[in-house]
Symmetry: C2
Subunit: 459 residues, 2 copies
């Protein structure tokens, strides 16, 4: 008889993953290479090293090594808050009356409140090992900035965070948390950089944007001695670090003989989804697993379901290398949405390629439906989910209800990437029934697509 599955499963310290899982190396069809925006040639290590830490550049461009050892110094950091639990959602299953088994990997037990710490710790470690003294980054919703602040406090690095101005005003507590960890938080656009000053000259009252904050952070990193830039999503090395999520989940499931029929994650830039699915997708590619994979995005920012698969810039100022990805166009401005972490025009090139090849499904959801699911989850499972993560909850509940209809006893695994402690304004809007949503029209999308660069590779 199979062992009874407890509500919460933990790995012992010595069972924790010793390597990350390089999905790109396992994929038969590789994502198209990152291009230098000037030459339109594949970027080299030398192109990227003025901006990023050397080791992360190596990881970014590594197509060949399926397993990348996690250094002891990072494993020590991980042990401070990992393993994160894999939870069987018995209470939710009961409330739904579904024959499905629902599991979620919960990444919100650390103070940053999300999975972002997995890559923040790795990137801060490499910076310190390389002899750098400071880092610069940007943050919109705030999870990434908080994670970097924690990691830099741990490794003794200075950190400057450019926080989208409107976000720093709306989320003073997020800002305070980063500051408590010793980070310098600068509302963006600011007069500390050329790109910031330029934007302020044009519009002194602007609330800022992620694109602008990225430009300011990169400029600061490049101009400051012993400083580099760090990014919390989209890039291959970020997804690599996040595979610790999927690896832990798979180890725990293997222990109990569980194989997921469906794996679900929310998707903004793709770091949480990519990290969760990586080892399962590897098994699927190898013909050892027959799971479905579902990406869930907000209907207001539908880069998978309504975007184009094209080379595009990562930022609105068009300063980054070009990546071939599902994109709404770097000029697309998603409407206000409480899932700030999912408001991004593009998508990880790895996930975009998998979607393009039919290995990942995607669906888009409206906010009120997402919060209906969040409330159903928090009242049964007890955890206050982040608006971002609640997109995955919505799809998991829908699949479980479908199982009830068909009588199938499927195994559903989803990523609960974070908690909603700093998102109570969203819950208040939901409670007060003042939550709205803007779904872009086809005309809106055409305007966004017009910003996609007109280069031969897109022809």
């Amino acid at each position: 008889m199979a062992p009874k599955i407890p509500i919460r499963m933990y790995l012992a310290e010595d069972e924790m993953p010793q390597s990350w899982y390089n999905l790109k190396a396992v994929m038969k069809e590789k994502p198209d290479p990152i291009l230098h925006p000037g030459t339109l040639q594949p970027v080299t290590h030398a192109d990227m090293e003025p901006v990023f830490c050397k080791e992360t550049v190596k990881q970014e461009l590594d197509d060949t090594n399926p397993l990348v050892p996690i250094p002891d110094g990072i494993r020590e950091f991980y042990r401070a808050y990992r393993p994160s639990p894999l939870v069987r959602a018995y209470f939710l299953e009961k409330e739904l009356g579904t024959p499905a088994e629902i599991y979620y990997k919960f990444e919100g037990t650390n103070t940053s409140g999300s999975h972002k710490l997995n890559s923040a710790g790795a990137q801060a470690y490499y910076a310190q090992e390389e002899g750098l003294t400071s880092l610069a980054t940007e943050t919109g919703a705030g999870q990434w900035g908080t994670a970097m602040a924690m990691a830099c406090a741990f490794y003794g690095l200075k950190l400057t965070v450019y926080m989208v101005k409107v976000s720093s005003e709306q989320k003073p507590y997020r800002k305070a948390l980063m500051e408590a960890y010793g980070a310098g938080v600068i509302p963006s656009p600011s007069n500390t950089t050329e790109s910031g000053r330029k934007i302020l000259e044009g519009d002194p009252n602007t609330g800022g944007s992620l694109g602008c904050a990225i430009s300011e952070a990169i400029e600061t990193a490049v101009k400051t001695e012993k400083c580099r830039y760090v990014l919390g999503s989209v890039l291959n090395h970020v997804l690599l670090h996040q595979t610790v999520i999927g690896l832990e989940a798979k180890l725990m499931m293997d222990k109990y003989g569980i194989k997921p029929d469906i794996v679900i994650g929310c998707a903004g830039g793709g770091s949480n989804l990519g990290g969760l699915i990586a080892p399962f997708m590897g098994d699927k590619i190898a013909g050892k697993l027959n799971s479905r994979f579902i990406a869930v995005e907000p209907a207001s920012c539908p880069s998978f379901t309504r975007g184009r698969y094209a080379y595009d810039f990562g930022d609105t100022a068009k300063t980054t290398p070009l990546m071939r990805m599902q994109t709404l166009g770097n000029g697309f401005i998603p409407s206000s949405n409480h899932a700030g972490g999912l408001r991004y025009h593009g998508m990880s090139s790895i996930l975009s390629k998998l979607y393009h090849d039919g290995l990942i499904e995607a669906r888009a959801e409206v906010q009120t439906d997402v919060f209906d699911a969040a409330l159903r989850f928090m009242k049964t499972e007890g955890i206050l989910p982040a608006p971002e993560s609640s997109h995955a909850i919505k799809a998991a509940i829908d699949e479980a209800i479908e199982c009830k209809r068909t009588g199938e006893k499927k195994v559903i695994l989803f990523g609960l990437s974070g908690t909603g402690y700093f998102d109570m304004t969203a819950y208040m809007a939901y409670n007060n029934k003042t939550m709205s949503d803007y779904i872009p029209t086809d005309a809106d999308l055409q305007k966004g697509f017009a910003s996609i660069p007109d280069i031969p590779q897109n022809g």
Copy 2:
């Protein structure tokens, strides 16, 4: 060789405690009985049952059964968020350079953010079993109200929370969280009760007080059909439910052959401290353990260190039974302090008796010192502590530093009762160096003592 102690220790589901630990039954010298304020005779079950659930009244007055079985229906609730981890503070130890071993039991991993859920779940379960349909309570800082909202959502009960008005205005997100769980939150004083209306007549602009909110909640419970009142601290049955903390900690420590030399907890009404120390204190009383026990309270509300051991009311309106306890007088108004959960004039009668008999030490700390310790902790251990819990951190660090001085390798265990996600205004005040503290003068204390009732038992 002893097994290497991991950073985080968890019990398996089947190792979790099956009974609570009734410390009162184990104490050789019992606390003095609770008195009826009219007759000055020990209260009976019949006196208390109009206000509290039957089963909790039984527990409140039970002096004889050392082990009280935890019903399956409550163990199921506990399994939704327990066991909570016992953590070895390796990173903090290293930063302090202490030979001491520091451990903390972390009760903040659930959405309510504190240990309060342990008693909320138990009280809601008993209410539902008794056939009640609703409960009423009050909340100041908000942890207890949130815990009750979660428990009532789980067991399908209606909940009314009287939230101190100034607190509901200062912490709109706490209020929103309770409302998201379906609780009705009423700023107190309100016009929904006689006692509320009376206070509003006298002072329409009052910000309210915990004493007033208690009166409104009790009035509502007594006047509503199938409704009772629930309290989150001070009372014996609340401490009983909280012993799950100490029992889990002890089971884990026993597993690794660890015996604490010092056990530390913050103390407001005593629920967290009493729950943590119970089984260790039982061993000490039985001569099997030679630990020290330290209660840490705010210098602005020093009921242990500067209070009197006397019969007093639990509320400022003088409506509750009389308990013999360490008290500053029911009329004592503690100055504003960010550790809202420690702003109470009295103290659990069990802990008061232990203190009176020399089995517990106590110390009082000022806010800025407490936040110095909190920051040191969060930068090394990664967890954002509640201001209340940070009092225990302060004492644990002081004891570890003392070990460094003496070279002693003591084992220190402290209770990390909760997280600080809803206390960022406190961290902002600390960061901005605008945090102040008012330590009551002897004259202030005399004024408070004057409100202690003049009855023969106090003579």
